[in-house]
Symmetry: C2
Subunit: 296 residues, 2 copies
């Protein structure tokens, strides 16, 4: 049996009872480690918590050794743990499709993911458009088609969740070419970088559709730090305010994981009131939402 | 302390360990009962599972007695349980805002919700646009602005999750006027109804923007029955096929909860392959996705 299990966002106790029971029944436990990480637990803490040893599965292992992982599931219970919900990334449906083709039984265990947890900002999830990932510029190629999606959302008055790139256990081109298992330090895109990319790239959408660019002085956003953890923090304001916040206080946004929300015109009064509590500048927040977002 | 706790989708064991600990520490436990229900557990089963008695909170109670609920939280631990994740509906952020204003400590516990669990269909959550709710026609007023949102998503090539209306513990206008606590039988919108409403209403968008109407013979959808439960079922095909499916087999979609996904053009090959396993007519599914959704 193959168990695909979402761990939720932050602490070992964010797992569901059903998910924990599946882990406890498993002879082998893998932890997918390259798209995210559990904010308040190290691998060894998880091992202690589950009473199981964990095999950390990096991108390389999942892409090249998944046959072996699934073979094991033919004869014993295997748990494959994913931070958040297991259906955030397509790779994991691919594993299930292969279970199906090989006649391996499987069961999935849902959990919270960043995609619904951002409701904690007070914004209605109904008013979000498509989610975008903001990728690092890798030196040779700068993918910017995500900004078209952001602009499409803004045109419709919708909020956008921007997921910021994470590079964990990546090899340099040289080490990759030489087959050296030497990994670069983990990198996390910062909120100011994502804001700057949004502003700059909005001037050159890939699809060349005529749309308004992003004016950072009148476009509102929310910085999302460590949502779902005990140190969760939000800051709301214009994009300019959020940029200046980092400049002035240095470590405002704190440790990863970070995300960014760019707020669309379809903001309602309850959302506005809720968000006021973590606005960088409350009176300014209320003025902007009243004048430019048409709220009383 | 006020605990706002998501229960997940289906079984008592879908709760997180952190959420369960909070319930166990509470002197009073409310269960929000008017926006959804836990598919595989009755209230008394939950009471046994938690070892606590539960106060079932209908819309009336939450709207008129929330002061009392929050007052209790001034002096003891109170858990307020919500099916799915607690931030699906705005009402619940309203409770937190009032905690904040009254100086009552609170903590929230995330969980899976329909909004991320539909990733189990194999569709990438990144390719969904705004979620819509399809409301019952109440006799006097037929709200159709949701169809504008559906059409906006389709124009952008995005998938749409349609949440089907639920009427639980609703009073008739007459009983409401006379203050009689007599409730109508629970009603759940069916998938064929939601499909018909989508087709018909797409011809008359409220905003009168010129957009293509929905042609049910070439527009693909997925029926979503009881996602996250042990009897979860999906059917994929053209909207016409999904309509005929119900006509022929009667109870195909089974017991609630049901949702519907209308698939946008931005379908990728992995999504297509995964969904083939529950296509109403596999070869037809592959032909349509190849000819009309531009997949090889």
């Amino acid at each position: 049996m193959f168990y695909l299990i979402g761990l939720g966002l932050s602490s070992p106790e964010d797992i569901t009872l059903a998910g924990l029971n599946a882990i406890k029944s498993s002879e082998r436990v893998y932890l997918e480690s390259y798209t995210s990480f559990l904010m308040e637990a190290s691998v060894s803490e998880l091992e202690t918590f589950y009473g199981k040893s964990i095999v950390v599965a990096d991108r390389d292992m999942v892409e090249t050794q998944s046959d072996k992982i699934l073979e094991e599931a033919q004869v014993k219970n295997v748990s494959f743990l994913v931070v958040g919900d297991p259906f955030g990334a397509t790779t994991h449906t691919d594993l299930l499709l292969r279970c199906k083709e090989s006649g391996i039984g499987y069961k999935t265990f849902h959990n919270a993911s960043i995609l619904n947890a951002i409701g904690a900002t007070g914004l209605s999830l109904y008013n979000f458009g498509q989610t975008v990932s903001v990728p690092f510029f890798d030196g040779n190629w700068k993918p910017t088609s995500w900004v078209d999606r952001l602009l499409d959302n803004l045109e419709l008055g919708l909020h956008t969740l921007l997921l910021l790139d994470i590079k964990v256990k990546e090899q340099s081109v040289e080490n990759l070419a030489r087959g050296r298992k030497i990994y670069e330090p983990a990198r996390y895109m910062t909120i100011p970088t994502a804001i700057m990319e949004s502003i700059v790239d909005s001037k050159n959408p890939v699809d060349h559709k005529p749309r308004r660019t992003i004016n950072p002085d009148v476009t509102l956003g929310i910085s999302v730090s460590r949502v779902g953890s005990s140190t969760q923090a939000f800051h709301a304001g214009t994009l300019t305010q959020l940029l200046n916040l980092e400049d002035v206080e240095g470590k405002t946004f704190g440790l990863p994981l970070h995300s960014l929300i760019i707020i669309g015109q379809r903001l309602n009064p309850i959302e506005r009131d809720y968000i006021t509590q973590f606005a960088v500048d409350g009176p300014h927040w209320r003025r902007i939402t009243s004048e430019l977002y048409n709220l009383e």
